[in-house]
């Protein structure tokens, strides 16, 4: 199917001669150039907007962020697959359809503290270690 892919790209190239003519050089299988590469996206979670201000005392909200974007094999600069995944890829070269599918997910998470009431009106202050996405990568 790799050959098929190249044929398909050749066909593309014929339809976009200018880009080809610019000599795109090495084909980037991760094609992150055309699609949004795996990266961190901003997301602000407002507990007030979620209607939780009656039981969450602080914070009012926080920058949670999330990961989204394309990942494909072989990995590009975002390479951080484990050796296991790479070996699996090599083993499945004969059956490319079975290679593990990479996904864009957090590689670094940070903690925040949340102050809230429980059902008995007791107050709980707790550190939650994986509430904020700090960095993303292909897994």
């Amino acid at each position: 199917s790799a050959g098929g892919k190249r044929r398909h790209q050749n066909r593309n190239r014929s339809t976009q001669p200018q880009e080809a003519s610019r000599g795109s050089g090495q084909t980037d299988y991760n094609s992150s150039n055309q699609k949004t590469a795996c990266k961190r996206h901003e997301l602000y979670v407002s507990f007030r907007e979620l209607g939780w201000q009656d039981w969450i005392i602080a914070p009012e909200g926080y920058a949670a962020n999330y990961c989204d974007g394309e990942c494909s094999f072989p990995l590009n600069g975002h390479m951080n697959a484990t050796n296991h995944a790479i070996v699996q890829t090599l083993v499945h070269l004969m059956n490319p359809e079975n290679v593990p599918k990479p996904c864009c997910a957090p590689t670094k998470l940070h903690a925040i503290s949340v102050l809230f009431f429980d059902d008995n009106s007791n107050v709980i202050l707790k550190k939650y270690k994986n509430m904020v996405v700090r960095a993303c990568g292909c897994h």
């Binding site: 979670v45 602080a58 914070p59 503290s113 009431f117 009106s121 107050v123 709980i124 707790k126």
Partner: protein, 266 residues
Amino acid sequence: GSHYSLEGIGEGQPGFVHRRLRTHEKREMQKEILSVLGLPHRPRPHLSHGKYNSAPLFMLDLYKTLSSEEKSQVEGALERPQSVPATRSPPLATYQETAFLNDADMVMSFVNLVEYDRELSPQRRHHKEFKFNLSQIPEGEAITAAEFRLYKECVSQAFRNDTFMLKVYQVVKEQPDREADLFLLESRRLWASEEGWLEFDITATSNLWVMSPVHNLGLQVSVETSSGQTISCKDAGLVGRDGALEKQPFMVAFFKVSEVHIRSVR
């Protein structure tokens, strides 16, 4: 300490695009965050004045201390020596509590469930009782420190130059026809004119209550003048349930995930 403000705590971040959530997005997000918080459902506390009570205000003070330290760590600001807290807390949280906070994974304050004022009688001393429900503690958390906090106001002219002996007891066993069996936790001599929060270490008692809820019979507080006369806690200036919201008595416990893992039977 009585104002309640959330300035600067996690308000909308500059630069973040706020978009109103659609209903299903909101529901998905709620589900996701409850799972991260480890909660089966959103709590529905009974909040008449709850947010302005002493315990939430005290916990908010701890929260501000903690989040300012987290912020400085994430932003790589110069590390402060651990012994000096990032912000000198208002009188609510003491140095010692800030040290407990640094070591804790979780802090919980507990609402005082009952409060009896027994009238003076020759046979029975005048005392005040307090009870706390510690049955809702998440599994795997162990108490590293616990305090019972009581606010004392200035007293009337009658005792102005006197000193009080304040005693805190753990109720060991209640007796129907006579006084309960008590275990003295602490006795403290105070100036009658003294005002402020009084903290009493009840770590051992709290651990007993968690391990054996049937022994959770509460605490008793009694006050004597220098001449040995027992007086009511109210006369001694101790704030009870009918006092100001931000001076209500409460209990606070600091937890750490207990390292002791019970090995499952093979």
